[in-house]
């Protein structure tokens, strides 16, 4: 080989990972601190599997199947609660999302709105429910729906604003170049790009809110949460087990429907599924060995 090749054969030194290792060490220290100082007695930890096993047996072997007559309508009430709450959140978060987007509204306005949205997000639904909405609307699902709705405004608003900020400037510029008014630019330049994504957020939020609705019953918002709270308090574990089964089935069903609609919306906008482009031929059948 030539002389320059001899130079190229000088092997480089392995780089030092000092910073990375330090970070890992710090993280490990924090985690160890948490494990060592938490107030959990070791004997309770050892007894854990047995206690859990007993509880599982009381609840599901067998559950009180007839209790579905009470659990199912309560679950429906929770679903309705989640739906109304999500709707409130969706409708109110849309304008707030626009105001919170740095590329649409002016700097200071968008900052104020974003802080406002973060503040709303900081309140867990359950706190909102207890503190504000049950006193207003009395015991029952309406208070729960309002709590869910208001909390959702925070999360949905943030996601909407972020989606709008990441929009492609080209179409907006094009609409503006036709001399359209500002609101028209939003409607035809921005909205078509973000609407599928935003609707997907709404549906995903509905899935999450369903879980929130299920538990708000504990603090008086009715629905399946109240049923669970009662059955556990009165130690009717077989009935509680049935209620849990109802929750699982309903949640999985809603997740599935919502997920399917979400996927159709996202795929329908022309985002092509990128299949591995390794060959001219259709998918190879490689059996994992």
């Amino acid at each position: 080989m030539t002389a320059s090749a001899a130079l190229a054969t000088l092997r480089p030194n392995a780089p030092s990972h000092a910073k990375r290792n330090l970070a890992i060490l710090v993280a490990a220290a924090i985690v160890s601190w948490a494990f060592l100082t938490v107030d959990v007695r070791l004997d309770r930890l050892i007894d854990l599997p047995r206690q859990l096993g007993r509880m599982f047996g009381f609840m599901f072997l067998p559950p009180d199947w007839s209790y579905v007559e009470i659990a199912a309508p309560a679950m429906v009430a929770s679903i309705q609660m989640a739906w109304i709450g999500t709707l409130i959140g969706a409708i109110l978060s849309l304008p707030l999302g626009f105001f919170g987007a740095k590329n649409i509204s002016s700097g200071p306005v968008s900052n104020v709105v974003r802080v406002l949205l973060n503040a709303i997000r900081a309140f867990p639904e359950i706190v909102l429910a207890i503190v504000v909405f049950v006193p207003i609307a009395g015991l029952g699902p309406v208070g729960g729906a309002l709590a869910i709705g208001v909390h959702s405004i925070g999360t949905l608003g943030k996601l909407t604003a972020e989606a709008i900020e990441s929009v492609d400037r080209g179409p907006i510029e094009a609409v503006r170049a036709t001399g359209a008014r500002s609101l028209q630019v939003q409607r035809w330049g921005v909205l078509p790009q973000v609407l599928p994504e935003i609707i997907a957020f709404w549906l995903y939020r509905f899935e999450i809110n369903l879980r929130a609705a299920a538990v708000l019953g504990i603090v008086g918002a009715g629905g399946i949460g109240a049923v669970l709270s009662n059955t556990l308090a009165y130690r009717r574990f077989d009935k509680a087990g049935m209620a849990i089964i109802v929750v699982v089935l309903a949640t999985i069903a809603v997740d599935y429907i919502s997920g399917t609609i979400r996927r159709r919306i996202i795929e329908g906008t022309g985002a092509k599924r990128i299949v591995g482009d390794d060959l001219e031929q259709p998918e190879l059948a490689e059996s994992p060995t």
Partner: protein, 258 residues
Amino acid sequence: MIRFENASVVYSGGVHALHDLTLEIADGEMMVIVGLSGAGKSTLIRTINGLVPLTSGDVTIDDRSVSKARGRELREIRSRIGMIFQTFNLVSRTTVLNNVLMGRLHATPTWRSLIGRYRDEDVEIAMQALERVDIVDKAYVRASNLSGGQQQRVGIARALAQQPKILLADEPVASLDPPTSHVVMRDLQRINRELGITTIVNLHFLDLAKVYGDRIIGLRGGQLVYDGNARDADEGVFRDIYGRSLTADDVLEAVPAA
């Protein structure tokens, strides 16, 4: 010696990717496969290391059947066959060295590979492979920071790290510009001649096929339509293989660097 005996591959949907192929490839040969897209080049090359199963017939390497091998036996066979790809197939997020070390995976105990601590001998082999393709100075660079030509050389180093007896190259230069393509093809030719590794290359650039191959075979519709010396292959031969007249897309058209 690689031997195909009446090898056929039919995909679900009825596509005959390979049709009753019978072929022998001697040790140390540099063979180029040409043919249109969909002619079966990629399928053929993948039957040699079992990435594509045969529908009927057999592929054997030194009288060991590849198509019937499973599990550990198949992995053992694959460990002696290096493969490079049109899209390089490097793990972009990690270093060049880690990519090349993937060639030593078969020789490394599983626990070592899980925590990423390879044996010193294996690191040495990887380094030597990088030196052979002249890119060892980039050993600790992130793979995605390299140019296409450099990435393909890392791919070759990965294959070399296996210390293979056979090297398969599926359109290795289709994503590269002309000068770089010549560099890569020259590397493959040099490796074939210096190390005696049987090298099988899919190409669709006919001028490259003539310059760098010893033997050319042509596929059309999954069938073998030509088998001869690169010397004897001229435009007429290629026209027959393609079944149409040649276009500018079929030739790389750059003057090889001195």
